[in-house]
Amino acid sequence: MKRWIRCAAVLLSAGGLLATAACGGSSGKQSDGKVTVTLMTWESAATNKAIDQALTGFHDPNITVRRVDTPNGNYSDKLAALTQAKKLPDLFWCGNDTEQQYTSQGLLTDWASRLSDSSDFGASSFVSSTMKNWKTADGKIGGVPSLLNTYGIWYDIDAFKAAGITVPAAGWTWDQMFDAAAKLHAKGAKYGLVADALTSTDGPFSLSTYALSAGGKPFADNVHQPTKTTIDSTYTEGVGKVVAGIKSGAIAPPGYDISNQQGLFAAGQIPMLWSGQWLAAGFLTDKPKIKYGFAPLPQVTKPATLYDAVGICTPSYTQNADATFKVLKYLDSTVWTKVLPDSPVAAPAYLSSQSAYFGALDKAGQTTVAATVKAGLNTPTTIGVRFTTQWASQSNDLITAYWPDILNGKKPLSDLQTMTDKINDVIKNNS
């Protein structure tokens, strides 16, 4: 009996050791009284190194910052595991969708009061649309926006010249884009335009920019708390033009493998690419042989663009909110000014840090990228890139069931209404 009890104790101790060994870190006091603030990013090894380097400039005698290593390819799995284990680090990279979902579940620290009180790091210190989007319905702010994505069209200048087409610029129209795609395709390009944003599950949202620009209604009235999805005549018109473009071979169809689209664009094999400003950082490193530019998204009558921001969140159980907020402030302001000059991946949401990003682009001669990002940030008419709701995956499945077949011409345009009706059922069932 005694032996059994001893064995059980040994096994339990071993289990306990294993369990504690698997724990992540959250802010806590060290033996010397210092507070450790933990941080987790989804960045590449190179960017993480730059962040670590920038964090050496953070001086507070009572705070130590420790970054938790994460394989950036498995960030979502690690985030899910740490969330369930209630072992999230004090600061972790998050999307607007994660911030909205976690805040609504009470999982994040609400920074709303600090952001309104602080003079140099308040809500007004950020691009206004981002703060608006990061607020939940009940006014909470569970994370602070850090970087903003701007979407536009990357174009191969030589391909345009060879086809005798004027290169895209602010104010160009959707019809001009479709026309250019057709001409580039006729000139020998496999596809004149590669636009995964139009053909993937985010497609219905991306195409909202057509409807909004034409004075119509967007696909969803709100990506955070939608009450309905709508397909109006302007929207259907836009989809019809994409369908025609895919049918003629001018636009890459749904299912096109985008895994190496950046490389293909740089190699001159994709003359027009719908993507984000983040490609610029890669181009600066890889130095493509082609001459290229970046133009704002096309319009019908007025500019309309996509809104997409990422940020930094803090779990509700962080042990030292004051220290965490200090580090957060340093990360969101100073760190980007040190990291972005070497890797201008996106514009910071914190207004005072933006000069570092635009300065880096100007220095690298990326004038069209800088101009397009500025245009994107200043466009008042925007739509989110996807639903940020708990049930987003259910609507994604419905989009997958209809959208690609509609674009490929396998289903009629009238099925857009069927798709929205079914998504509206999901909204109704989950509201």
């Binding site: 979502s76 369930q84 969708d97 985008i258 094999q269 049930w391 995956s393 499945d397």
Partner: protein, 289 residues
Amino acid sequence: MFLAPALIGFTAFVVYPLFRSAYFALTTYNGLTDPKFVGLDNFRRMFTTDPSFWPSVRATLLLVVLYVPLSLIIGLALAVFCNQRMRGVGLLRTLCYLPVVLPVVATITLWKFVFNPQVGLANQVLHWLHLPTSEWLSGDDSAMPSIVIVMLWSVGSTMIIFLAALQAVPTELYEAARLDGAGSRTVFFRITLPLISPIMILQVVLQMVTALQAFNQPKILSPDNQGGPGFSTRTLMLSIYDNGFPRLGQVSQFGYASAQVWVLFLVIVVVIAATARFSSIWTYSDHVS
């Protein structure tokens, strides 16, 4: 006492998760809040409103139909070939089995490059041969056959089991058949195949389970890593994974994924039971001494 470690491990990692997933299957659970009991709602949703469930069943069955016969035929053909007495047969067997020991994810990723419609080796070869190129993994109709090709890359494991079975067939039976004037085809169909039929049944079951649980290939090879284009390569296993561990920014549906796991489990049980039930019809059951 000696069984304790194994029992604890089995209980912690098999029995407990089994019952836990059965419970989750009857709840809505997103990993953020406590599970909420909903009875059979997950199963109702699966069979009636989920637009991805039946396409994923179809994709899985298509994979079974394509992969199982091909893996058996190719595996057996290779085994017969590697069972010959000739120079270099050891090297040949090694080459056939080599893909099995290579890291799975790395080889699948290389295949993704091979099948790239723009710059992939597959289309370049077709182009050199003046044959029409394919969209491979990007085409609705060609995506699943492409995945089957990649799965067949590891047919060496099937071959090795068949090879062991072939080598267990008594040589005197072959000698007697030859004396009676039987040709190679007759020998194969009248002697070899009946005598290795129990192994064939085992292989059918193993390959069916492999196909029903296919995950790595569709996950890595599909253009969107979610079983695209559309739902054409979204197998049940991939559907389960994506519902349980969705892409960044989407909330987990552990309850729904658990319900799908149990459906897949029942499908596998039925398939194996049916195979075992009907195996006696075409299995030669005399013991080979």
